[in-house]
Amino acid sequence: MRTAVDPYSRIVKKTLDRVIPFTVHWELTYHCNLRCPHCYVVSQNSREELSLGEIIEILDILKEKGTLYVIFSGGEILTRKDFFDIARYARKKGFALRLLTNGTLINESVADGIKDLYPLSVEISLYGSRAEIHDRITACPGSFERSIKALRFLHERFIRTVVKSLMMKQNAGEFQRMKKLAQEIGSQFLYDTVIIPRVDGSMEPCTNRLDGEELYRLLYPEVRDKGEDGNSQQDDLSCSAGLNVLSVSPYGDAYPCMGFSESGGNLTKNSLSEIQHSPMFSKMRSITLSELPECKICKFIQYCNRCPALAWLETGDLLGPSQADCLLARVIKSIIDDKRERAVMENQIR
């Protein structure tokens, strides 16, 4: 009677075709105890964040509409005093939870509470392999030690942890050491090199982005040659934002993904259907590669993982190229070309 993992991709396709919000990325709060310069969040102080009651109502709607995965992030999720009430309710409803946190508020007792939630993962942001680097970025002395302790507390409780990092000018030299540290702790290591602008359009965080040479040095050992097709960009752009992915702000505003500043409506006022048929969501779903005037003729497209939200934030044009994605694609192409050339030379020498 039971069928195994294989039909899962069929279910995922169904959620894409039917615009079912299978994954919801929910920023529970914009309050944070760290002050990272690359943070894209802009708090709207005049607005009240959702109450526990409102969150519960929205979780009920999401369950009914087909959501399975809920990613809670912030700000810092544990600055909400009612975080465990929210998370316990979400688990009672059967959602699969991923928790994104800086870890600084996780002591042994909080780790016990997290264990009882059976999360898929707890993903902790780390920006260096030592306090000197990490604490300078977070502008919070002691934050490194607390985040590392949190990872260890969680690991001791057999909770799957992920060390997530954003590689930038301040920590590019830390990359390999961070990978090693994550491995020592028993965590998976994930990283990104693209710093996104603030949602109010400020490009200030992007001043910390790595330039082409720095990216090349960082990514050279990481990039694998996948053959002539590279990353083979598909015509659907492989972006599920607004299809089976929905993002929710601490105020209940719903977006195709967190990179957008224009919402499709508010979940306390509008139905999910109204939001999914709003101009922003409809536009996101309709984009195909053929509609992108510059990208469709770009020779680096097969190395590009174009993010529409990033293009939107950088230029205000959903259909335009993103500076950061273009640079990354050029660097990846250059690394692959150099590795191929090197392989040919090595063969000749042999």
Partner: protein, 98 residues
Amino acid sequence: MKTEEKIPIKSPETAHQIIDGEAVIITPGQMMVHVLNVVGSRIWDLADGKRNIEDIAKILAEEFDVCYETARKDAVEFTGDLTQKEIMFFAGVGEEKE
């Protein structure tokens, strides 16, 4: 306790959703995803910690237009399979049933 009197309960570790009649179940500890067929999904949905196997089989027989014995066999087999995989467990009759 007779098999029919057993009350299946979803393991609190699981995460689950029903998409178009098919249950998707995740076990975070094992990082496994299971997709159940329509009958299995209905049994999963009916396993609310209150109904016993007899109650579930009666509903299945009616909804899927099969005889009670076939439905009972399906319910027993299915719940047994999932309890072995620790996705479900059985409660005692007096513990959960109201």
